[in-house]
């Protein structure tokens, strides 16, 4: 199986130094268990993705583009030439606009289906099919069987990345894509930028326009379900058990009885 991993020019959120985003390192680990894999980066500089070599990628293709060009057409062209069975990408970039739209745009251009937030991948029983395990949060998963080629994004719950290996980073190669790729200018979003300011957190449960006393009550949990709590003192154990089960079912954490009689 042939896997292509989309690599982005990540920036560390604090220092601003070039780093490989964690999700892309995890994507390399997922791909390593499946077969032959290759990295793909479109951007002005190849050096920013060199860290991926040390994370277990042996080979990276680099499509040189000017700074302000849209990477999507170049990525789509390279992927069409590579013809992989699976394309892996992170959920969001890191250090850029962080919109997470690139995998979707690439999948749309190639006409591939996209499966978001996978945590495991395995080849299917039939040739050309894949089992992708998608995270649904809280430990639940969805196993999607799909006929490739397919684009998938990686969820943070996927297995942790390999440790960085210096020797591998030295041995790996970054190879420029031959053939001129016409740069398309990226659409410039009409946004105004300014330093980030943290916003006050919403106080859950406080009604809009409430007084300070009401907000304090909501913040300390006195106004929640706890304040209106039911208290049963020395009930009959069976009676109490019925109460507990009814309460758990009202909340929705316990399934209704299988056979209501």
């Amino acid at each position: 199986m042939k896997i292509a991993i989309l690599l982005s020019a990540g920036r560390h959120p604090v220092s601003g130094a070039a780093v490989l985003p964690r999700l892309e390192a995890q994507a390399i680990r997922l791909a390593a268990g499946l077969g032959q894999h290759i990295g793909l980066h479109a951007g002005p500089e190849a050096a920013v993705v060199a860290e991926a070599l040390g994370q277990g990628l042996a080979h990276i293709q680099h499509a040189a583009l000017p700074e302000e060009a849209d990477p999507v057409p170049a990525l789509a062209t390279c992927l069409a030439a590579l013809a992989p069975d699976l394309v892996l990408a992170g959920r969001r970039g890191q250090g850029g606009a962080e919109t997470g739209i690139v995998p979707y745009a690439v999948a749309d251009r190639l006409g591939y289906p996209l499966i978001p937030d996978i945590i495991a991948a395995a080849p299917g029983e039939e040739a050309g099919t894949l089992h992708l395990d998608q995270s649904l949060g809280r430990g639940a998963r969805r196993r999607v069987t799909i006929r490739g080629p397919v684009v998938a994004t990686v969820h943070p719950d996927a297995p942790a990345s390999f440790a960085y290996a210096y020797g591998q980073a030295r041995r790996g190669v970054i190879e420029p894509v031959v053939g001129a790729l016409a740069p398309h200018p990226a659409p410039v979003p009409a946004v105004e930028e300014r330093p980030y300011r943290r916003r006050p957190k919403l106080v859950k449960g406080a009604p809009a326009g409430s007084s300070a006393a009401e907000r304090l009550k909501a913040a300390t949990g006195e106004a929640g379900p706890a304040s209106s709590g039911r208290l049963l003192v020395r009930p009959d154990p069976d009676e109490a058990a019925r109460e507990i089960l009814a309460h758990l079912r009202r909340i929705g954490v316990l399934a209704a009885p299988r056979d209501p009689r």
């Binding site: 962080e98 919109t99 196993r143 069987t145 980030y196 300011r197 009604p207 154990p237 089960l245 056979d259």
Partner: protein
């Protein structure tokens, strides 16, 4: 968050007392201001209530035992009367909210998205909720219109659903469309954006009728833009709608059958099976429902059986972990795991501050304890003062009866 703006002049004009001589304006300030939080004290009436009837000299009973007559005004009766339903007959424009509807219900995040749509709609616009399948509570969440998307809520075909949503939006021509920034909602929003070739303003953390704000570059900067067609709203960023309920009238949408993708399904997806989390192995911090034992539980075998039958994740207080009766990774609290569970069932746990720190994020707490004054009992939404060794077998018995084989719970 915007609060309705007060108009002090109009408020004062409303309480003006029509006077006889007209020498100076007089106002009746005895009425409560609407919308205020706490009831207002009336010190004069309190004082009058303390007056001892009798001889010439004024005498007051200042003993603090008996409640004074009428110190606090009762709530006006009409506040509790059934609220009238607000209707917007012909909205100038529509703001569409597309909730996740996980489990067929509006989540808190979904309601926040509806609240955000309400802010963008203002007085003239209407909020339409675009929901898959039936559901309830749209009106009180702030929706004026309801568009029911004809789609199987259980099938997994995100590309097909995005196509149908895009076709509906093309027919509706709304001014703004908002999605929640969740796993499902964020995915759907990006698919719709790519399909409609429209930019998406993702993960908006600030919202007002004139601008949206989102963090970028690892939260070192924020980007601000006028609201465009598509945006996703971060969790806990916008308050839920708190006004009177709205009508959520069904709005039929004519979708052109020839429209691209209105009937499309993704052929490549062969199957999609939902694998629920195994409560016995899911990490404690992710678990949905945790049942924990403390020093008050002596019969741990029954406890383990109960946890398995309830399909809960086992937890414990530090006392049990220190004693080696429960594994260390089940410890709940400051030096153990901080929970994000929906429900916490505490059996024989006193509720020490170090333990309660781990439970602070739980929405519902059920406590069983022999001590009426335990902190856990105070924290719980359902508190039962009874011996845990009696409650646990009773629960097992009841669950066993429900499962159909009396005597044994399986």
């Amino acid at each position: 968050m915007t609060r309705p703006r007060r108009d002090p002049r109009a408020e004062r004009a409303a309480i003006r007392v029509p006077d006889r001589d007209g020498a100076r304006p007089r106002y009746d300030r005895s009425a409560r201001r609407p919308g205020g939080g706490r009831p207002r004290r009336d010190p004069r009436a309190e004082r009058a209530g303390q007056r001892v009837a009798g001889p010439l000299r004024l005498r007051y009973d200042l003993g603090q035992v008996a409640p004074a007559e009428g110190p606090v005004r009762a709530e006006p009766a009409q506040r509790t009367a059934a609220p009238t339903i607000l209707t917007v007959e012909a909205p100038d424009f529509l703001v569409v909210a597309v909730p996740d509807m996980a489990g067929g219900r509006l989540s808190a995040h979904d309601r926040q998205v509806l609240g955000a749509a309400r802010i963008l709609a203002g007085r003239e616009g209407g909020v339409a909720v675009l929901a898959v399948g039936a559901g309830a509570g749209y009106g009180s969440a702030g929706a004026d219109r309801l568009i029911s998307l004809d789609d199987d809520p259980d099938a997994y075909d995100p590309a097909g659903r995005a196509a149908r949503i895009a076709a509906t939006l093309a027919a509706l021509k709304p001014r703004h469309v908002l999605f929640p920034e969740t796993l499902d909602g964020g995915d759907l929003a990006r698919r719709v954006a790519v399909r409609m070739r429209e930019p998406l303003f993702g993960n908006a953390e600030g919202l007002s009728p004139t601008g949206l704000i989102r963090p970028a570059r690892g939260r070192s900067i924020e980007q601000r833009a006028a609201p465009g067609l598509l945006a996703t709203i971060a969790p806990e960023a916008v308050a839920e709608y708190a006004g009177p309920p709205r009508e959520a009238r069904l709005l039929p949408v004519e979708i052109d059958a020839s429209m691209r993708g209105a009937q499309e399904i993704t052929q490549e997806i062969l199957s999609a099976i939902r694998i629920p989390a195994d409560p016995a192995t899911v990490p404690l911090g992710l678990a949905e429902f945790v049942a924990a034992a403390g020093n008050g539980v002596t019969d741990l075998d029954t406890f383990r059986r109960l946890v398995a039958v309830l399909r809960a994740t086992p937890g414990a207080s530090r006392v049990l972990c220190d004693a080696g009766l429960m594994p260390r990774q089940t410890q709940v609290g400051a030096s153990g795991t901080v929970l994000a569970a929906t429900c916490y069932l505490a059996l024989g746990i006193s509720g020490a501050p170090q333990h309660l720190q781990g439970v602070a994020g739980c929405e519902h707490v059920v406590a069983v304890n022999t001590d009426l004054h335990a902190a856990m009992i105070e924290r719980a939404g359902l508190a039962i003062v009874q011996d845990a060794q009696l409650i646990m077998p009773a629960l097992l018995r009841l669950l066993g009866q429900e499962a159909g084989d009396p005597g044994d719970a399986a």
